[in-house]
Amino acid sequence: MNAHNTGRDVDNNTDPGAERNMDRGAARNNARDEHYVSDAPFDPHSVERLTADQEKYFFASRRQLMWWKFKRHKVAVTCGFILLALYTSTLISEFIAPYNLHSRDTHHIYAPPQGLHLFHRGQWVGPFVYGYDYRLNLDNLKREYIANPDKVQRLRFFCSGDAYRFWGRIDMDFHFVCPAEDGTLFLLGTDRLGRDMFSRVVYGARISLLIGLVGIAASLFLGLLLGGLAGYYGGWVDSGIQRLIEILRSFPELPLWMALSAILPVTWSPILVFFGITLILALLDWTGLARAVRSKLLALREEDYCAAARLLGARPKRIIARHLLPGFASHIIASATLSIPGMILGETALSFLGLGLRPPITSWGVLLNEAQNMNVVALYPWLILPVVPVIIIILAFNFFGDGLRDAADPYK
């Protein structure tokens, strides 16, 4: 944008000056020449004619500008694609995961991750894993798995494996990848019941990612409502809500979350607990959004178009919804995106402590609940691997949100 601007400015500044100099010179030389009037029609734009490119740029809509600005932020775009891929994967988790969420392999309890290989003794085989030989170490009663180089187990792709019910409706057994017949495929190892960690991480993404979205929806609702009221009415409504926000903000979040989730009755079904936890996360999260909404509203309601709407007799509801919201929707979306990671981390922490979601609902936090003590880190370090997707998703949301926030104000 700057490049275009300065280019145009330079043209404007130099051209008229040059003309004037020339005119003066011409006037001195031909002082007695006749007065000359051009017949050509006057074109006010003759000085600053825009090229097609410039025209496209200067008359672009706000949305178009935001998109251009966002596209320039390469990291944010990449993170956007990562998020899109992860969220799409939750639609077809059953297809991606080689095993089911609850299928157990009692012969492979606490099996370490199997490495993926392509070449066997210098020969191309295609993706395969080495099968495990199992031995119980009688000295320390530790299960030992040794990869046997003779057991080459080639993976099968687009194959039929564990039967599942797609979206809980259609019976299917079609998978993207399956272990070899009578073989195993534990890319991230197995847990204490011999369940495949990779499949569980794939399924866990559903709940962990969903809780961010549902939570932010609830928090957005509260934030818009209360922030909107505070910003629009001002006065005692404003100061009351401001006080409330200050009080909630001075609470340390986690202990309060813990206390609230300890209230959820044990008798609730897992689905109810899921919504309860989401609501609890949202209850403390809306304050930031409400503040953003309020300050933007305070600025926007002084604008002329708002006064015009008021004078025409529009009701507050209409002014807020039709005139004010579109004005700062982009900012709100950006702040909402930036507060999703906090929710995902919150759920993970609560579930890790055993106060959050409960099995059979599986989220990344529930998976990490298995890795509660040092023995796990020392003996079965692969059980802490569900933290990797947590870190990825949080980084992705942070960078993506940063990009959105920069793009939200394209005129800056």
Partner: protein, 332 residues
């Protein structure tokens, strides 16, 4: 200044009242009270309960009274040192808690100091070397620190500390000092164990602080007076230290406000993983067993810690920065 302090205190009191009320509502919410569950549990194990004691406790803490009366009694108790009764431990809350509150304060303060020491030079470096490789690298590192759940970091650090330094696992002191009176040996042992929780709790806060400090200092560096200074030929180091850094220092104090709640949250969960003798583990078990007064005392204490922390940071700021003092407006 006096006027400002007075005003600030006047704002704090209603906040505390509301906070204590919210906490009381939360600990009251689960249906039934602890005594009922406790009696049912004991009877199912075939043990007899002394009805007189139950009756005494019920009357003492007014569990049969209406809600408002219970609340007033609970809050009123704090003024004369009665923090309620822990049903689970069968002791007054005060005795159950013991040193825990002080150790929580110790861990929190140590974490904040650690955060400052790390964040200060890195933030300055990032701001003065904006968009350099160092800036990008440190920013990425900070982001990873922000994104890693600290309970997991705690587990891994604990494991590494045990392997590399042979520090005893968990706790804030060597086992032989537990329940001992304070001595130099005990202090040394505490200091030796303190660094793991401090580093673990500090990572997330440090990352956030670096980002905020960097943004703040960058704003300051773009101001006109810096340009003037540059134009009249001030050496770069002096130009940085004398003016913009001083302005950014205020922010350091003000930032306690956003740092403290996250430090205390982090301290709770890390304490549970590391089984530190602070409020964390006991709060968790109190919440799980509906030991309402114990949980309530902890929650109130943690909230109080934050509120008082904010008060101290506001007062320090007012003392440092005449603009705030004279305006009489609270920061945050």
């Amino acid at each position: 200044m006096f006027r400002y302090v007075f005003k600030r205190l006047a704002v704090m009191l209603p906040t505390l009242v509301v906070i204590s009320f919210i906490i009381f509502v939360i600990i009251q919410l689960p249906p039934g009270d602890y005594l009922e569950t406790h009696i049912a549990e004991l009877e199912s194990q075939g043990e007899s309960v002394d009805p007189e004691k139950i009756e005494f406790l019920r009357r003492q803490y007014g569990l049969d009274q209406p809600f408002a009366v219970q609340y007033v009694r609970w809050v009123g108790g704090f003024f004369h040192g009665d923090w309620g009764y822990s049903f689970e431990h069968d002791l007054p809350v005060r005795e159950v808690i013991g040193d825990r509150l002080w150790l929580t304060i110790l861990v929190s303060i140590a974490t904040i100091i650690f955060t400052w020491i790390i964040a200060f030079p890195i933030g300055i470096y990032s701001a003065t070397h904006q968009y350099s490789w160092g800036d990008y690298g440190l920013t990425l590192l900070g982001f990873i620190g922000l994104a890693t759940p600290n309970f997991l970091l705690a587990l891994v650090m604990l494991y590494l500390a045990n392997i590399w330094f042979g520090t005893s696992i968990g706790g804030l002191m060597d086992p032989q000092y537990l329940d001992q009176p304070w001595s130099w040996g005990k202090v040394a042992s505490v200091l030796e164990h303190l660094w793991i929780p401090v580093v673990v709790i500090g990572t997330a806060g440090t990352a956030g602080m670096i980002r905020r400090l960097r943004a703040n200092l960058l704003d300051e560096l773009e101001k006109q007076y810096v340009l003037t200074g540059k134009a009249k030929g001030l050496p770069p180091a002096k130009l940085l230290v004398k003016y913009p850094l001083r302005a950014a220092l205020n922010f350091f104090i003000a930032d306690i406000g956003s740092l403290l709640p996250s430090v205390i949250s982090g301290a709770e969960i890390v304490a549970i993983v590391l089984s530190l003798p602070t409020t964390g583990p006991m709060l968790l078990s109190a919440l799980q067993s509906q030991d309402m007064y114990l949980a309530g005392t902890f929650l109130l204490f943690l909230a109080l810690l934050t509120v008082v922390g904010l008060l101290i940071s506001d007062l320090l700021l007012a003392w440092l920065d005449p603009r705030i003092r004279l305006q009489g407006a609270a920061v945050q």
